[in-house]
Amino acid sequence: MPPSLSSTRLRAPVNVTWEITEACNLRCTHCLSAELRTAGRGELDLDQCRALIDELARMEVFQVNFGGGEPFLRDDFLDILRYAHSRGITNCVSTNGTLLDDALVDELLRVAPVYLQVSLDGACADTNDAIRGRGTFARILAGIELLSERGYPDFSLNLVVTRLNVAEIADFDRLARRYGAKTRLSRFRPSGAGCSTWEDYRLTRDQLVELSAFLGDHPEILTGDSFFALTPDSRRALGLNMCGAAKMTCAVAPDGRVYPCAFLCHPDFLAGNVTAEPFAAIFRSSPVLERFRELEVDTCRTCDRFSVCHGGCPAVACFLTESLDRPDPECLRAVLPVTEAVPVREAIPAKEVA
């Protein structure tokens, strides 16, 4: 059997999501990190950030996905980016785009490659501004236009798919192409501010099915594996076949707390703090992370999609059912009867050497 994430344990994460700051200049109604703003626990200082980067580099973590908050609000963020780059780590920054100007783009191009994900939650102002705040569509678009004009090589527009904007994703994709950006769709989860907007924003059954079909028709659209529980057969080889929390990824909060993933930054899932013990030790030995690695959704084992989703997203299951080992409530099989579904197959592994 070829190696895969479900059959082997990696010695380090592939990527780490690092919420580098609590500060944000927007108040998005679905923000997964909204609780960070009110936590007031502070942030790692620059020396602590460099020490963590050194350790990630020693572990050979390929990529850090910086988020927040809005990373560019942090005065020393470019220093952090430059340092991570110098240590061989690939940088990706999730930004709301409102702070992009010529000087900042100049700096980012000097540190290249820095993959930028600019968050925009609709193809028109009415839709986006209902989620991200009045006037933000124009401000974000100004940043996107600047990236486009400057020929910024590695940026995507990221839309969190909700009931409010799901009808616009084709238009959103066209908008992204117009600016030379890739389209990235992310899953809306009931964490952070999303807990209180979940019932209003969650996709209906028909919308989930339509989204699955859309993703199948557009293999070029990035998803960050948000939708592996919904992924149609035609995208199987493009991404993961199970949750990567604690296996290929984990999250670091602004104050150094470590969690299995960015959607599980909750006291129940606290794995440790890099100010108290090395990140490598937390990743290797934390009982919380170990629990995620051994997590199995037994009730999904008889499902014909088990090999391609392994029960789906534990975060969604946990927040909706208060249990980690329940099936993902938005699993394709949960919303689409077997008789209507296309068959599934195992993800295609790399060719092996004996």
Binding site: V14, E60, S86, T90, G239, A350, E352, V353
Partner: protein
């Protein structure tokens, strides 16, 4: 034939690779795709940092050379390494 001995295999800037217990783990930063490769000790990744990132092909028994050659061709086809003339 053992072209892997005379050809240099470079890892593109957008691809990262490291050793794991099963062999090598490749990560394409542009597509965020992972590729698990059971290469045993036949291939060694380049250092984590460095300007010229060359994948080292270790000497293997005669019987394993065709498999290593096929693996290298597969990795080239996937765009995870690039065959280059040695300098």
């Amino acid at each position: 034939m053992s072209t892997e001995r005379t050809t240099e295999y470079l890892v593109p800037d957008w691809v990262r690779v490291r050793r794991e217990s099963f062999g090598l783990l490749f990560y394409d930063t542009r597509s965020t795709r992972l590729t698990f490769v059971r290469s045993g000790d036949s291939l060694a990744p380049p250092p984590f940092t460095g300007p010229r990132r060359s994948l080292r092909v270790n000497p293997v028994d005669e019987g394993r050379r065709p498999a290593v050659s096929r693996l290298l061709q597969s990795l080239v086809a996937k765009g995870l390494i690039v065959a280059a003339e040695p300098q």
